[in-house]
C-alpha cells in the first residue's frame, strides 16, 4: 500500500494504491449510469473500469450528463 497523487477534474487528490477507476468512482459516490471517464485524456469504457488501475500523476476526468439545450 502506497499513497499516490492523482489529478481528478483539475483537483489534486491523494489515494492509496492500488486503486481502480471503479473504486475511484465509488469513492466519489458517483453513479455509473450517465458517467464517462477519461484517464490521461483517453476515454475508458465502463467494462474496463474495474481493471484499469491508477498510477502516480495520472489525470482523471469524470463527466456526467447535465441539463442543457
Amino acid at each position: 500500500m502506497t499513497q499516490i497523487n492523482i489529478n481528478v477534474n483539475n483537483q489534486p487528490m491523494s489515494v492509496i494504491s492500488p486503486i481502480s477507476l471503479s473504486e475511484l468512482i465509488a469513492l466519489k459516490q458517483l453513479k455509473d449510469d450517465g458517467t464517462a471517464v477519461a484517464k490521461n485524456a483517453a476515454i475508458i469504457s465502463k467494462n474496463e473500469w474495474p481493471t484499469t488501475y491508477l498510477s502516480d500523476n495520472d489525470t482523471v476526468d469524470i463527466f456526467t450528463l447535465v441539463a442543457g439545450g
Binding site: 464517462a36 477519461a38 463527466f63 450528463l65 447535465v66 441539463a67 442543457g68 439545450g69
Partner: protein, 256 residues
Amino acid sequence: MLTLANHTFPSRLLTGTGKFSNPSIMKNAVKAAQSSIVTLAMKRVASHSAQDETLSALKALGVTLLPNTSGAKNAKEAVFAAELAYEALGSPWVKLEIHPDQRYLLPDPIETLLAAEALVKKGFHVLPYCGADPVLCKRLEEVGCVAVMPLGAPIGSNQGLQTKPFLQIIVEQSSIPVIVDAGIGKPSEAMAAMEMGVDAVLVNTAIATAQNPVAMAEAFASAVVTGRKAFEAGLGATSDLAQASSPLTAFLEPTL
C-alpha cells in the same frame, strides 16, 4: 411523425433541458411538450452532490436523449465530447455544437463540418447545430448527418426566425430533416417555422424561462402540431392584389 436515421418519433417538438429552475419543473414541462427527443449537456463532475437529477428525471419519461457537445471549441473537442456522451449513455445520437465565441454562441461552420464527417464515420447519428447557410447544410447532408439544425437567431435570444429567407432555401433544398434550433421565442414563431415546412423545432429558453414553463410547453406543443397541419394542408398562394372571395355581382348598383 418525424423520421431520423430510420427511427420514427411522434413529436416534432424537441425540448432542451437547460435553464429550468429545478428538475421537477423541467420534467413536467417535457411531459407537457410531449417531446420524443430531449437534449442534455456533458459536464465535468467531481462528486455525487454535483451530479444533478436531470438524467434520472428524463429516464423516467422514456424519451430519446440527445446529448450535445456544448463547450467544444473545435472539431477535436466535439468528437471527444460525443465519445464521452456515448460512453455515458451507450447511445449513438449526438447534437453537434461548436461555438467558440461566448458572446453570440454562433456555430463554427468549418469545425462543425469536420466534426460531423468524423462522427458519421464513427457511426454516430449526427444532428449539427449550424448557421442558416443553405450551402453548409447541403455539405452537412453530404457527409451523412441525419438532420441539420440551422439557427433562427442566437441561442437563448428569443428573437425568433431572423433567418427566415435562408431557412426557406434550406427547406427547399434539403433531402434530410430540417430542425430549427435556437432563437425561437414564441409559439407563433414555432408555428411559422412549421408552416414553412421545417420538419421539427428545438425549443429550450422560451419554455424554461417562461413564467409558467409547463403551460408554455403545452402552448408550443399545440403550435407545432397546428403549424405542421397547415403545411401538410398546403397554404394558399399569396398575391399583391386583392382576390375577391365573393362573387362580384352588380345587383346592389342602381339600374340605369
